[in-house]
């Protein structure tokens, strides 16, 4: 049996959960096996019938389980796995899913493969997976020797498809929770003021690197962005660790992953840890004075030259075009 740990938010399954259910269904077909799911929350039972084609859905409903309560969720999942004896356990490879399954893996003392993108089957059984390394810059094929195989699915590795088939049977699962299972829990959520267009929503991102040379020079990029449709300014790690920009502007493996229509990389060398954060951009335009910079192997359009001359000239040209 393939057991899916489902993530919900605001009484709905998350997109990553649907991706995970789709991956589980496909894997179950290949293994001629069945799929079941675990749903935990303060009021989630109504969601169970929407998981069509699954054999059954185990539900744990408790008013104390509103939101993600890490240790309680891990205890419930570990007990459910011990009871149901699946061969594969799959959760979304989101922050919550990775946290949840790592805790489950620790409790059961089993290995866990996070960020999976592909599955390998041998003699009708799951043998191993492909998983992301270096934030997605490399992929690793690995065998998993323990059972059940605990996996999280890399977000967007599989496109979510609607599930078809009969409604699953719904089972209430009884798990005794103690105070200590709630020692890690959200105390407060401080909502953020929304200021401007965020990096992840922007249609155009103008990113600056070491070539900018100062916080001051980023004003130039701000001005360029203000002339473009739906644009925001991003940065490399060199720019954030020099305090030219806040870390929230950082694009890359340890920063934000962006996917705009256009990424304009200015004075950025194109290090893989940076590029893994912008590789999903539809187009990449690079401005760099070094024709051998790695960015030119990872861009669609290139301009070779000094950014301190090119960017002001480009701003003037765009203003001229807009004025006309």
């Amino acid at each position: 049996m393939i057991f899916v740990l489902v993530e919900t938010a605001n009484q709905k399954l998350t997109e990553s959960s649907w991706e995970t259910l789709t991956a589980a269904r496909d894997l179950a077909q290949k293994l001629s096996d069945t799929t079941e799911a675990l749903l935990i929350g303060s009021s989630v039972r109504a969601l169970a019938p929407t998981l069509k084609g699954l054999r059954s859905v185990s539900v744990v409903e408790d008013p104390r389980l509103a939101g993600y309560i890490p240790e309680a969720f891990a205890k419930i999942a570990a007990e459910a796995i011990q009871k149901k004896r699946p061969t594969v356990v799959l959760a979304p490879g989101t922050e919550m899913g990775n946290d949840w399954l790592a805790r489950v893996a620790a409790r059961l003392d089993l290995s866990l493969a996070t960020g999976c993108t592909e599955f390998f089957i041998e003699n009708g059984a799951l043998k191993g997976v492909t998983r992301t390394n270096w934030g997605g810059s490399l992929l690793e094929e690995t065998e998993i020797l323990s059972t059940p195989k605990l996996l999280t699915l890399q977000p967007h590795a599989v496109a979510a498809q609607p599930l078809a088939g009969a409604e699953p049977s719904v089972e209430a699962l009884a798990v005794t929770l103690e105070d200590r299972d709630f020692r890690v829990r959200l105390k407060e959520l401080v909502r953020k003021e929304k200021t401007g267009i965020s990096l992840t929503e922007a249609k155009v991102v103008v990113g600056g690197g070491r070539g900018l040379g100062s916080a001051e020079a980023f004003k130039m990029l701000e001005e360029l962005a203000s002339l473009l449709n739906n644009a925001a300014v991003g940065a490399t790690r060199v720019a954030t660790s020099n305090n030219w920009r806040p870390h929230s502007d950082q694009i890359g493996q340890t920063g934000t992953q962006i996917a705009p229509d256009l990424y304009i990389a200015v004075g950025v060398s194109g290090a893989i840890q940076h590029m893994v954060g912008c590789k999903n951009s539809k187009k990449i335009l690079a401005i760099n004075k070094d024709p051998d910079a790695p960015i030119f192997q990872r861009a669609d359009y290139g301009v070779i030259g000094d950014l301190h001359q090119i960017v002001p000239a480009l701003i003037a040209e765009i203003k001229r075009l807009k004025g006309a």
């Binding site: 946290d99 790592a102 620790a106 089993l110 959520l189 493996q253 840890q273 990449i284 070779i304 075009l321």
Partner: protein, 249 residues
């Protein structure tokens, strides 16, 4: 207050990856080594907490003798002592084995606060810190970007799309840290000299049976065709036209 911070030596790969002939490892022949930015921030956070609250900080890595380089860097910045769990084959250890070895070493040492990176730079397992917390039976909050210690409690914040999630747990506790929690300092010359004199405690860790076995590494497809729009300021006419074509203006 006793603080532990765990770091991992990884190749600093820069512009691109070269793989070894058997496609199992990153070819590190011409590469320097680093630790993940998350872990650099964990080191910085450990130093700041000791500066503020007093006590001592320890850095630990499981890796080859050469990983002393990363330990010395942490000592140079202000960490007080270092432990090397020496394992030349550390790249083949799975996260479970790493966590068992770390937990076994640190359990008798009585740390109040244990800091990890949210994920290691190379294998991105997202789990060693959470596993160590379980083995020590202490609470853990992962992926934090703010930390404060008050009266035996830790207040940690995670950043989500909705805002700042605030957690409060009592110590001892484990936290896994994300870059952005602070801006790490550079070591001073004095710090570098002083670090050379600090002895590094070396131990041979016990490795549990591995449950994961890497077969190969591969590069994902990258398919872009470069078109050079021009050189210098002469190019701006063509760039602006391209921006218009792409709907940016």
């Amino acid at each position: 207050m006793k603080v532990l911070v765990c770091i991992k030596r990884v190749p600093d790969t820069g512009g691109g990856f070269r793989l070894t002939a058997d496609n199992k490892r990153v070819d590190t022949t011409n590469l320097g080594f680093a630790i993940s930015p998350h872990e650099e921030c964990a080191v910085e956070e450990a130093i700041r907490i000791i500066e503020k609250h007093g006590g001592s900080s320890t850095v630990l890595t499981l890796g080859p003798m050469a990983a002393q380089e990363q330990l010395r860097e942490a000592l140079a910045k202000g960490i007080n002592s270092a432990i090397l769990l020496e394992a030349d084959d550390y790249e083949s250890w799975d996260a479970r084995a790493v966590a068992h070895a770390i937990a076994e070493t640190v359990k008798p040492m009585g740390f109040d606060l244990l800091l990890f990176g949210n994920e290691s730079a190379d294998v991105c397992n997202y789990q060693v810190g959470l596993r160590v917390a379980h083995l020590l039976d202490v609470p853990c909050v992962s992926g934090i970007k703010a930390l404060e210690i008050q009266n035996g409690k830790a207040i940690a914040k995670r950043e989500s799309s909705e805002g700042w999630e605030v957690y409060e747990v009592s110590l001892p506790a484990v936290f896994t840290v994300k870059e952005g929690i602070n801006v790490p300092r550079h070591p001073s010359l004095r710090g570098i000299m002083a670090a050379k004199k600090i002895p590094i405690e070396q131990k041979k860790p016990i490795r549990q049976n591995l449950q994961m076995a890497r077969k190969l590494l591969k590069k994902p497809q990258e398919g872009r065709q470069l078109e050079i729009l021009g050189q210098g300021v002469e190019a701006v006419g063509k760039v602006a036209a391209k921006l218009r074509e792409l709907g940016a203006i």
